[in-house]
């Protein structure tokens, strides 16, 4: 299959399916190996960006999905239904951040870190399809293990778990100092 057609097929598939499509499936259809397919898609992603197109392609943990460009939101919302917005409480967000960074993780581990029970937050996150059960830990009681979903990646604009904002305690201290200095500066002015 010639290159131009391969790109057209990928575009057509991502458009029609709406949801994310595995790299391996796309590769199969355009009769190419996964490595080449990935390269083609990445080139397309770049070109879409350069051309300031209305749509873009995002990567979600080895799958690809077509979506609108974020900057156009204010115009689109005049016609399109806005996606269901849900506000996550601090409790739920804290629980989610622990699960995102420590997965696979049990309820008990989450509770140890937060110092409070997390049943409610965990159930809410499952309900919102932001986390899922990953199986059970091979330990007494065989507790459930939780991890994040593809919906999590989409909702937080994260390509894959490696793409999560860095977690670094020292950096944290730096941030804090910076913030304090900034405030000091403002006060001095």
């Amino acid at each position: 299959m010639e290159r131009a057609k391969q790109e057209a097929v990928i575009e057509a598939i991502l458009f029609t399916m709406g949801e994310s499509v595995e790299l391996s499936k796309l590769a199969e259809v355009i009769e190419e190996d996964k490595k080449n397919t990935k390269a083609i898609i990445e080139e397309m992603m770049e070109r879409y960006g350069e051309e300031n197109r209305g749509v873009s392609i995002i990567e979600l943990d080895g799958a690809y999905q077509m979506c609108t460009r974020g900057e156009l939101y204010e115009y689109l919302i005049k016609v399109a239904k806005s996606p269901r917005k849900y506000v996550l409480t601090d409790t739920v967000l804290e629980t989610l951040s622990i699960i995102a960074y420590k997965q696979p993780v049990t309820r008990l581990e989450i509770e140890k870190i937060r110092g409070v029970s997390c049943d409610h937050a965990v159930n809410r996150l499952i309900e919102l399809d932001l986390i899922k059960e990953l199986g059970r830990l091979d330990a007494p009681g065989r507790p459930l293990l939780f991890g994040t979903t593809e919906q999590f990646l989409r909702s937080f604009g994260v390509k894959s778990l490696e793409d999560l904002p860095e977690l670094n305690p020292e950096q944290l201290e730096d941030f804090k100092e910076q913030a304090e200095e900034e405030i000091q500066l403002k006060l001095d002015v």
Binding site: G18, M66, G70, P83, E94
Partner: protein, 262 residues
């Protein structure tokens, strides 16, 4: 120390501790444990929560703080490498870890706002394609799964459910349902007081089986004391309560009904 009029809502004991540390501009690695403990206790005294589960978590931390406070007064413990151990070290680690995840949750919140501006599209498959369901290869799906293994899985699920039930609390729950009969308890204690001139509360309890029995018995003792049927004395805290019976005093009949209200 001034307590803010409106108490903030805290996510948990660690959240409250971090707030106090920030407020006092304290170095997290060198927490003045006495000050922080005092402020912490002051806060939870003001907390108005009916939820015992939440409260117990805050109280647990209070106990930890007091424990650290005690250890700070004692000579420092030395670990295997011969270094002095800081009793605060474990708490500091916990606080730092918690703080890190809390910070990351703010980062995630920001990202969610940006990501929320992206719109997707529902699938628009031709109807005949949308209706198509690829056949399931059940042999492949089942693999080495069989009925015996499914049964094992069910047993382990049920066992896990049993594990989750706290036998102490669950028994307590059951007792609340089949109430201890106050009238019977009253008559029992009264008869006991008539038969024994002087007796210990503990001796009385030996005839009781459950926690609810003990509680009701204690209430009955208080009632009997109020009407002058008995006198009690206790030398020191946690000593046995010594009960002396006044044989001449008759318990008014309406007391039975009154006691039942409690």
């Amino acid at each position: 120390m001034a307590i803010p009029v409106k108490l903030q809502v805290f996510e948990g004991p660690l959240d409250l501790l971090l707030h106090l540390i920030d407020k006092n501009k304290i170095d997290i690695y060198d927490i003045p444990i006495v000050t922080i403990t005092e402020q912490y206790l002051e806060y939870i005294k003001q907390m108005q929560t009916e939820d015992m589960n939440v409260m117990s978590e805050f109280l647990l931390m209070a106990a930890t703080l007091l424990d650290i406070k005690c250890k700070m007064l004692l000579p420092k413990e030395v670990n295997e490498e011969g270094e002095e151990e800081d009793p605060r070290a474990e708490l500091v680690q916990k606080l730092l870890e918690y703080k890190m995840y809390k910070y990351m949750s703010f980062e995630l919140k920001d990202r969610q706002v940006d990501a929320g501006k992206t719109l997707y599209k529902p699938a628009t498959l031709p109807p005949e394609v949308a209706a198509y369901r690829p056949p399931v290869d059940y042999e492949e799906l089942m693999g080495d799964m069989n009925l015996a293994r499914l049964h094992e899985i069910f047993k382990s699920v049920v066992k896990k459910q049993e594990d989750k039930i706290d036998p102490i609390r669950s028994k307590f729950g059951k007792l609340e349902k089949d109430e201890v009969n106050m009238d019977e308890k009253f008559l029992f204690v009264e008869a006991y007081a008539n038969a024994h001139e002087k007796f210990g509360f503990r001796a009385l309890l030996e005839e009781q089986s459950t926690k609810m029995d003990v509680i009701v018995t204690f209430l009955v003792i208080l009632e009997l004391m109020k009407v002058g049927k008995i006198n009690i004395e206790q030398q020191e805290i946690f000593d046995d309560i010594i009960i002396t019976s006044n044989k001449d005093v008759k318990v008014p009949v309406n007391l039975l009904a009154e006691a039942n209200i409690g």
